[in-house]
Amino acid sequence: MTHADVPENYLTASWGWRSWLLTRDHKRIALLYLISITLFFIVGGFFALLIRLELLTPAGDLVQAETYNKLFTMHGLIMIFFFLIPSIPSVLGNFLIPLMIGARDLAFPRLNLLSWYIYIIGGVFTLAAVVTGGVDTGWTFYTPYSSTYANSNVILTALGVFITGFSSILTGLNFIVTIHKMRAPGLTWFRLPLFVWAHYATSLIMVLGTPVLAISITLILLERAFHIGIFDPKLGGDPLLFQHLFWFYSHPAVYIMILPGMGVVSEIVTCYSRKKIFGYTFVALSSLAIAALGFMVWGHHMFVSGQSPFAGMVFSMLSFLVAIPSGIKVFNWTATLYKGSISFDAPMLYALGFIGLFTIGGLTGLFLATLAVDVHVHDTYFVIAHFHYIMVGGAVMAYFGGIHFWWPKITGRLYPEVWARIAALIVFIGFNLTFFPQFLLGYLGMPRRYHAYPEEFQVWNVMSTAGASILGLGYLIPIIYLLWSLRYGRVATANPWNAMGLEWETPSPPPETNFAATPIVKEEAYSYDIHT
């Protein structure tokens, strides 16, 4: 195609690396994020495969204990701070929120670009730590090990995570102001797509939670530099203070990872069953309920840590309350399928997989909220299985579903449907094979973060490693065919799935200023009943 008849859209609006590295267009920033988090996903996934390979045999014979400790630490750090937290908000959220609310861009485009640069600087710090010897404190940085006894790159990694936190704050701040101030005329709160509701709740957590992580990391840096005893019991400090400050952010952080996924699933389930969401207000408000209650439950990470039994009771009760909104969402998604006209495209497979696996993840969370049972299963593979069911079975599946669902809008190309469905099934099978045996390992009493384990646990570990290789393959296939589709995929129309939503009323890929004219919204979200 000659330059003349190249369609005018945000990808072709300007050329050259400066137009990308200095862009203020939220769509281009979303693509910058897409590329960087995919790289981190591959690095984190590679560490995961090494861990699973090591655990094939009871003896620690693939890598030394020191290296293994670094592997699981860096797998945790990279996957959480550099993939799961930014993935859906910074890629799909950045790209779609202005489109979904009929705005030309986010409220603070310059801050949006700054947030990507901060993410990259934080990433460089962490990768520098990885390359120059790694860090072996676990992604939780528990003191006094991390502040006094560890001798790996704790300061460098802590700085990396500290810096990346601000990228999350800026993204959250940008979303809140945009959603409040820049909705199209007629787009009241209860006509907003649930994707926007979910990101609004997520942004509240990003803005109100991340600073406390920043201060707890600053205190670790002070402690390591000056040995002033804030967390060192020998000087009067209390290690539990760090755990409180750390988990005040890190539990709501798991809701930062899952809420956007819930938003994506609401969009996909309604589109592929051609029906309005069942119980719109309940699903929307349960996002806010999860964001608010999510800040009151962190103590369930500390039931056996020497925390007072009274606090244990309080946190256990609150932890059960936070499970209720998640249940409401699952029931409402399932009810949306009733009397629909359901087709099983790849995004729908990922969404249905999400609902099933997130349900198992959420219900096993109740085991951990029950005080008497948590005493037995805390810090075992039961916990590992629980949060992987939510993170990998939930957040990553929703992320892949969202990427497929909006791929035509982002790139103007359609992905190969058959390959996508095969990959979705492989991911589903590989995932369950990897993590379901870990529930059994956990209850049997295999502790987490163990380089070598007693022989009787080997059977389930071998099955888990087998599953991990299938899962790894399942993730590779989409990366390959999505790249392939950039060049050879069929050209997409403005609305290939004829879905509801403002983002589908503008060409794919959209022009630089999103809409020729600011749309006026007259009907509720997902009004599939009006337009068949």
């Binding site: 400790n69 069953s273 056996v304 409401i328 699952v330 359901i342 099933g356 109740l366 008497a372 049997l444």
Partner: protein, 312 residues
């Protein structure tokens, strides 16, 4: 191959059974809800799969359904909470008259001090059928004493004592592991709990080679010249120690404090934190001079000087 596939851990303590019953209840609830959702998804997917002649018909949101799937989970979680925390409170409450054993976790091994004299590394011999209370101390970082067969676990926090109790019911050897990441050889910090018949335990205890902690405590008491101020009769410089263990004592600040392990340990490391009434804060700190094992030996010695009215 499938005969010895491990599905369920051994039950070897009094609380193991009750925890397992609660867990099975949770498994049933989790399984039934997951199965319900799976069934609904499969049925709806098949029944309303897209095919010519079938259009999606709008379904209004019914408040009664929303209330249903809020109230039922609330009810179930209320049951889980009350059952779980009730059982937790029972399981954490060590019965009176439990046998005290001191366990010190240090980077990458467990040392066990029996009051009657045996000292063990990585092994914990206990009699069956008797409640045992472990008093846990850490020399360096946070460890966690986890005995899967007994369904008990407790973090060992440096800077204070935490306790853990159990009553073994079946003879045998069960695995004891560290469950809180504590450094390079965290996965090597494994040991065994050997549950023996009470008589075998006594004979095993009797022929211990090393002298009981109380004796080594007495030696420390003199080498660090504690006797100068605290010599056994009442003296004006330091409060007397005979027959004090377990009593509650009034402090200079007016509050009364139990004269227990935690108070002795705190007074050795931060002597002027809580000074006994009628005495001046002149005691020097012994921080960095006594390690956790020696403090335990000092406590054993003070205990051996006779206990006050209340048993610890």
């Amino acid at each position: 191959m499938f005969t010895e596939l491990p599905f369920w851990p051994q039950e070897a303590s009094t609380v193991a059974g009750s925890v397992d019953v609660l867990t099975i209840f949770l498994v049933i609830v989790a399984f039934s809800f997951s199965f319900l959702i799976l069934l609904l998804i499969l049925y709806f997917s098949f029944r309303y799969r897209r095919r010519p002649g079938l259009a999606a018909t709008p379904v209004p949101t019914r408040l009664s359904l929303e209330v249903l799937w809020t109230a039922v989970p609330l009810g179930l979680t209320a049951v889980m909470f009350t059952w779980g925390s009730g059982l937790y409170m029972h399981n954490q409450q060590d019965p009176p008259g439990a046998m005290n054993i001191y366990v010190v976790g240090k980077q990458w091994m467990w040392t066990v001090e029996h009051l009657e004299g045996r000292r063990e590394i990585g092994e914990l011999h206990v009699p069956a059928g008797r409640p045992v209370k472990l008093i846990l101390a850490s020399q360096d970082v946070i460890h966690d004493l986890f005995i899967p067969a007994f369904r008990i676990k407790q973090d060992v926090v440096p800077g204070r004592y935490t306790t853990l109790w159990f009553e073994a019911t079946r003879i045998g050897s069960y695995r004891l592991v560290c469950a809180q990441y504590c450094g390079t050889r965290h996965s090597g910090m494994i040991g065994n709990v050997v549950v023996m018949e009470p008589q075998d335990y006594q004979t095993w205890l009797a022929n211990g080679a090393d002298d009981p902690p109380a004796k080594s405590g007495e030696r420390l008491f003199h080498t660090f010249s504690c006797a100068g101020c605290h010599e056994l009769q009442a003296s004006q410089k330091g409060p007397p120690l005979i027959g004090m263990y377990g009593k509650s004592v009034r402090m200079e600040s007016g509050e009364t404090v139990a004269f227990d392990d935690a108070y002795i340990r705190e007074s050795i490391l931060d002597p002027n934190e809580k000074v006994v009434e009628g005495y001046r804060p002149i005691m020097p700190t012994f921080r960095n001079q006594l390690n956790e094992d020696e403090i335990i030996q000092m406590i054993a010695y003070i205990r051996s000087l006779g206990t006050g009215d209340a048993k610890p």
